[in-house]
Symmetry: C2
Amino acid sequence: MPEEFTVTPWEVKGEIDYDLLMQKFGTSPIDDALLDRLSGYGELHPMLKRGIFYTHRDMLWLLNEYDKGNRFTIYTGRGPSGNTHLGHLMPWMFNKWMQDTFGVNMIFQMTNDEKFLFKDLTLEDTTSMAYQNALDFIALGFDPKKTKIIVNTKNIDKLYPVALSVAKKITFSTAKAVFGFDNSTNIGSIFFTAMQSAPAFLPSVDAGKQVPVVIPCGIDQDPHFRVCRDVAPGLGFPKPSLICCKMMPGLSGGDKMSSSDENATIYTTDTPKQVKKKVGRAFTGGCVSVDEQREKGGNPEVCAVFKYNYFMFEHSDDELNELARKCRNGEILCGECKMCLTQKINVFLEEHQDRREKAKDVIAEMAYDGFEW
Amino acid sequence: MPEEFTVTPWEVKGEIDYDLLMQKFGTSPIDDALLDRLSGYGELHPMLKRGIFYTHRDMLWLLNEYDKGNRFTIYTGRGPSGNTHLGHLMPWMFNKWMQDTFGVNMIFQMTNDEKFLFKDLTLEDTTSMAYQNALDFIALGFDPKKTKIIVNTKNIDKLYPVALSVAKKITFSTAKAVFGFDNSTNIGSIFFTAMQSAPAFLPSVDAGKQVPVVIPCGIDQDPHFRVCRDVAPGLGFPKPSLICCKMMPGLSGGDKMSSSDENATIYTTDTPKQVKKKVGRAFTGGCVSVDEQREKGGNPEVCAVFKYNYFMFEHSDDELNELARKCRNGEILCGECKMCLTQKINVFLEEHQDRREKAKDVIAEMAYDGFEW
């Protein structure tokens, strides 16, 4: 019997059955036909080949529009409630692939209002975190000319009228059913989904014509965009397409990397020593002794270290398969494997932290409508 | 047995029992002691002497603060959903008396978002109506240096962070209980009361210290400010004081002038001919024949024409009493009385319409934060 699990934009718990989630949410699988179609635009991203991005809404329509010359805009974002960790970077890296492959514009929304409303944080906290998170986003190399960062409170003049038109079409019943709200939910949180929908319609508002939009995101964000898609036609906007990924696992073996478990979470600002310590403590499911491990082998299916390679740090399928084989045969021990991952992460972070510093020079020009940071 | 009545910010129906309403809402009566105190600052406004402004919250505290040198700000407003009628002008005239008497600043909020959310109107409709209504407000002669007009969508950058902090403190339970919302209410309407509260805190935000605020308004608006007062201390703001009036009656004899009954409503842009026609059709409760009226007399208590004099057009108590006496004795007939009121209204409107035209020249300088109209 499968364990119980909960997946909403604000809570992910239990062992997630991703197929069941796709059925529950009513999204479509990314099948071979769609992968074939996508590969016509450039080499497929490993996250597509490995089924990490595994489900979608209306991607074929989006590509048809693109082929007709109606270029789409990518819409992504972040709820700034703490430092950026590797789990946040994962979908952003996929966004980078999307922008490079299709050469399109991108909106990156920072929901500092959301995190203020849903968490015990001040608006100053979430706003300064938005700046920190934006540096990580920029560090991934997005085209500054084609990428605009929205901070909800700073761009509220543009967002609010659109959010109002969305809010007028959503009843409390709907918000309750989709997000699990109850009578004790604050009225700002209830309104918030309208703010999350607004950037999906901004490209059409700005262009004065129907601009297709695609939202690459974790499957946990689907509820927002289900609501957003429902109201779109009534407002004269195209329904945004979605392409959704699984959650980046935590180092302790859980389903999702979480900021609340700091020791099992690698932040983009971690030092090599911190990374070494955290990976060193990671759950692998390996045997208790070296001899037993050599004899029985390990199990990559449950190993957090393997998952990190699978999700993010080993792009070569051959290398990944070889690593799995060696693990199962007991040819490689958990300690070696951890050292190897530590090194990969530290090489990545060294470069990332360097680019993150340089991001401070371009962040102002990437602000939507030129607000001050 | 008293008839059922409903009074919320969005619906007023039935015959209102104002004393019961005061008890239900938990406001205090404006008693002789408070009237005495108020008369120390200048001649009492007829609406105070006649009990049209009849109930309050924390007015003594406000005056104590004023006496200590902590000048308050007046906060008033309008939900722009149609042309201005005389019922709207009534509390604004009282505001003018307040500003003149105490020489204080005033904020006038135009909730174009509210009317978009609650009515079948576009945001363009309610925004252009905000401009029209503002002309009427300005025409009453407020000090342009001390009076600032907020339009919610235009000043959203200042209002939104304050509204967020309010919204975080209000649950759906509270909104439901106070405003009578249910599951079919849209999520924008649910959030809206936070926007209505925000200007009560803006003077403190702008000044960087606790600024007392008084809100003169129709008693139907009290629910918003009950919620606003509840959250104020937790946000570090003083609770706004309230001074509330009864509803301006309609010409057809109902309890409240309503835009939905155009023939019983006098708009500020009406022509002398329209006014004559509307007053001519007003409900007086007079007798069917002249002879009968001469013999039995009329009843000013139920007469809409008399109420118009009482609420707005006859400031002299002596003249008003004389009018009542003549009516009761059958010395004056309804036709004469209607002609007399028509003339008073037309004299007022002629001057008002002239000042309303001139308001177009100063409206820009009265915009809070200098937005474009």
